[in-house]
């Protein structure tokens, strides 16, 4: 790595200090190297950080943060950079703290059902390390092969199996972090918080605005003894939504309940040749897990409910290979979308589950009206939509229509009693929706809460709250009036 002359807001002194803290080989400052870090999975807003550091210990992070504070320079943590909301965007420039070198599993204790990990550990690597123990780490974002547990904590990630097992916050009992003033703090631990407030509960989902996570205590979950995986095929999306509602309404909590519509099925079939019926309007991927003795009955009830709701056919996976392929299709659905259009924008709205028929119809209408092709693959059991808007980013007119369509969809989610984000977070992308979801007083209180952790606003400025740490926000507002979409 080469150290170049500092740019923007970084002085020579600060650059020297940073190099001393982490070592010159753990620091990037030349423009061509920094370019990689100009954005995360949300590529609309781009801003190159002035420096990227790769600390290898909490002490190094403390030193980096203290230097930034002394020089009044903003800093932002980054995991794998798969955020779809611009959580890693260095708003106003400054120092990016990459956690990818802190990726160790510090402890696995299956008797007490917890593990202690460093923030840069890739989600899937923990579950891999647990293979054969009878336990796993439950939150399983579709990006789990790349995203880090630190990033998951910051965004409170979900995934297909969080319908039954809960999202990240349900599996985190403690966090160690470097505060925005440079102190090393532990909240919670393997035995929870004791008599204190539930600070880990507050910290999870704070999108990097409360400090840099350096250690995480996560719960381990028993592997289910067995599972049944079904693929229900429908001729209409209305019937599909009806089936979802019937299953949940019947008091069954599947481990996963995922919907894929015709557009996605076509792309997946081309990519994986699973044997999806190309003329189907939608399919439901349904998995129940638990004790083998209970599952046949549960699967039978689900098959009956799907058929009563109009399913043309319900296939029960007969082999582990078939099940694995079905899940591969689901988890790599985003990869297959590249076959449909040069660019795509994924939204993350949520509606009450019973409102799925309404929102799906609305999404189809919006697509038609805005002349944008929209396909859907999403966590149907949670009502967590992922409409994917297909377009060509070289066509500015299309980009505008995609933004309009995305806005309309998210506004309808709010109108139907839902939210604009189920798992991707607000980041910079959805900031302008915050004052539609929350009142001024709600945001005031949230602002006060943020200031308790991040008094000067220099840790991840410009994220999550519309009024947050001002530096750099003006630039975003000017270049992209209104909401920006993840593309």
């Amino acid at each position: 790595m080469t150290i170049s002359a500092p740019s923007g807001i970084i002085s020579d002194d600060l650059l020297c200090e940073l190099a001393q803290h982490v070592g010159t080989d753990q620091l990037l400052s030349s423009q061509d190297e920094l370019l990689v870090y100009e954005c995360d999975g949300y590529v609309v807003e781009k801003n190159v950080p002035d420096v990227v550091v790769f600390p290898q210990s909490a002490a190094e992070i403390q030193a980096v943060v203290k230097s930034c504070v002394r020089h009044g320079v903003p800093f932002v943590p980054r995991g794998a950079g798969t955020s779809l909301a611009g959580g890693c965007l260095p708003v106003g420039g400054g120092v990016m703290i990459s956690l990818t070198r802190m990726k160790q599993i510090l402890e696995i204790n299956t008797r007490d059902r917890y593990a202690v990990v460093q923030p840069g550990l890739v989600n899937l690597h923990l579950t891999r390390a647990l293979a054969g123990t009878g336990f796993h780490y439950a939150p399983d974002p579709s990006s789990q092969g790349a995203c880090t547990i630190g990033g998951n904590v910051a965004t409170n990630s979900g995934g297909p199996h969080t319908l039954k097992y809960g999202v990240t916050v349900n599996h985190v009992t403690g966090v160690e972090f470097v505060s925005p003033t440079g102190e090393l703090v532990q909240i919670g631990g393997p035995c929870g918080c004791g008599d204190d407030l539930d600070l880990p509960g507050l910290f999870v989902g704070s999108e990097g605005t409360f400090g840099i996570v350096t250690k995480i205590w996560v719960k381990l979950t028993r592997n289910p003894e067995s599972c049944r995986t079904m693929l229900a095929v429908f001729d209409s999306t209305d019937d599909t939504s009806q089936a979802i509602s019937s299953i949940i309404g019947a008091g069954i909590v599947p481990a996963a309940l995922e919907m894929m519509d015709q557009g996605i099925i076509t792309a997946l079939e081309e990519a994986f040749a699973f044997g999806f019926p190309l003329d189907a309007a939608a399919v439901l991927l349904i998995e129940v897990d638990g004790l083998d003795v209970a599952l046949d009955q549960e699967a039978e009830t689900i098959i009956t409910l799907c058929k009563q709701s109009g399913a043309r056919e319900v296939r029960l996976s007969q082999t582990e290979e078939e099940r694995a392929l079905l899940w591969k299709c689901r988890k790599q659905a985003f990869g297959a979308i590249g076959r449909l259009a040069p660019s795509y924008c994924t939204q993350d709205g949520v509606v009450p589950r019973t409102k799925l028929p309404q929102i799906l119809k609305f999404i189809a209408d919006v697509g038609e009206r805005c002349n944008i092709r929209i396909v859907n693959v999403f966590h149907a059991g949670d009502g967590n939509l992922h409409p994917i808007l297909l377009f060509d980013e070289r066509d500015r007119e299309q980009v505008r229509r995609v933004m309009d369509a995305s806005d309309e969809i998210l506004e309808m989610c709010i109108e139907l009693g839902g939210s604009v984000t189920g798992e991707h977070g607000i980041g910079v992308e959805k900031i302008s929706f915050m004052n539609r979801l929350f009142s001024e007083q709600d945001l005031d209180v949230m602002g006060d809460v943020r200031r308790v952790f991040n008094p000067d606003g220099i840790c991840s400025p410009g994220k999550l709250l519309p009024t947050a740490g001002a530096c750099g926000m003006e630039h975003i507002q000017r270049e992209h009036p209104g909401r920006r979409a993840a593309m």
Binding site: P190, C191, G194, D196, L197, V293, H379, G383, F438, M446
Partner: protein
């Protein structure tokens, strides 16, 4: 809003709560929604705020006003075959008080605690600001998660006025089986096996009254054939039990058991509550028993209530011994009965949050 001579302020809506908070701020008096009040404190009576705001049963969520009693909430949910699977210590307690005090009973092993079910709040902070967090959908990451912050905050951050929960279906059957033991080693070995049992218990409780007999109460759920199968599996997990018997033969009895398990933490006999690692429970119980005190534990979660028949406190040397053991792995000990007033052990950020949301110290 009305008040009486005993300093009880009856509120009918969130506006009344705001008025009460603001006048407490002006008069420099203290305010609480708790039922037990000491000293010169104004007590908020939210019992008139007991309406269902929204119950879309097929979405498996419910929004209620904070003054609704748990008894009313439970009945309502039962009529739809649903539950908030957190054990109710006192059916007359209001939903708001339940969230603020966060009692956790036997089923926390299988279901988690209130923090896993509260998805939306409306509350009034010490400045009289009405604020909301979360929403009414089961998955939502917009904004800071102030819901979890309010769980167990004991009224220190605000008065809850409305709450939204996600719900679970009521299982077909819920039963609890008891096994007795005469040796600590057998208890420890049985608890180790239960951790990897072929069954999937939702309750693992241990009673250790005196250090010479132990009883392990294990609850399972599901259709009758599944419960029966699980009880059979659990029997294989037990190491040299001296006897076994049915503790709760049906759902009603099992729920009653869980209610009294949750109540135990609130009883006068409970002199301390310990959060330990589950594997350390037998060891901690031994220290407690050696002091002539009994231990009742949600052993699967490492939660231990230390009880004394004559309200005798945990002696200092036992406190030291337990605390040094807990320190090794991050456990906690909370003395509930002592001459000194029981104070929350809050870190700097908790203190900062209390100061931010209640700068005039309106809430006790």
């Amino acid at each position: 809003m009305s008040s009486n001579a005993r300093n009880t302020v009856t509120v009918k809506n969130v506006r009344d709560i705001v008025d009460a908070v603001q006048s407490a701020g002006t008069d420099a008096t203290s305010l609480t929604a708790a039922r037990r009040v000491t000293g010169n404190v104004h007590q908020l009576d939210l019992s008139s705020m007991n309406a269902v705001v929204e119950y879309p049963a097929r979405d498996m969520t419910i929004t209620v006003e904070a003054g609704m009693t748990l008894k009313t909430l439970t009945c309502l949910l039962r009529s739809e075959g649903q539950q908030l699977p957190v054990d109710v210590a006192d059916p007359e307690m209001t939903v708001g008080a339940f969230v603020a005090s966060d009692p956790a009973g036997p089923r926390q092993y299988g279901y988690g605690t209130l923090r896993d079910y509260l998805i939306g709040i409306e509350a009034v902070d010490g400045l009289g600001r009405v604020f909301h967090a979360g929403g009414r959908v089961v998955k939502n990451v917009a904004g800071y998660d102030l819901c979890r912050l309010m769980v167990g905050s004991r009224g220190s951050l605000g008065i809850l006025s409305q709450l939204t929960f996600k719900l679970k279906p009521v299982p077909e059957q819920f039963v609890i089986q008891q096994w007795q033991f005469a040796a600590e080693l057998d208890v420890a070995a049985s608890l180790d096996s239960l951790n990897k049992s072929a069954a999937r218990p939702v309750v693992i409780d241990l009673d250790s009254p005196n250090g010479s007999t132990w009883s392990l109460n294990v609850g399972v759920e599901g259709p009758p054939n599944v419960c029966e199968w699980q009880i059979g599996q659990l029997a294989c997990d037990m190491s040299n039990p001296t006897s076994t018997e049915v503790c709760a033969p049906d759902t009603t009895a099992a729920i009653t058991y869980c209610g009294s398990g949750a109540r135990r933490h609130l009883e006068a006999e409970t002199v301390a509550v310990i959060n330990s690692l589950p594997s350390q429970v037998p060891h901690v119980c031994r220290i407690v028993n050696e002091q002539g005190l009994s231990a009742t534990c949600h052993a699967g979660n490492g939660v231990i209530a230390v009880q004394s028949n004559d309200s005798k406190p945990l002696p200092d040397h036992a406190v030291d011994q337990i605390e040094s053991l807990l320190k090794d792995y991050g456990g906690h000990l909370r003395i509930t009965k002592s001459d000194a007033v029981s104070r929350r052990r809050a870190g700097v950020f908790s203190a900062g949050l209390v100061a931010a949301l209640d700068p005039h110290q309106v809430f006790v």
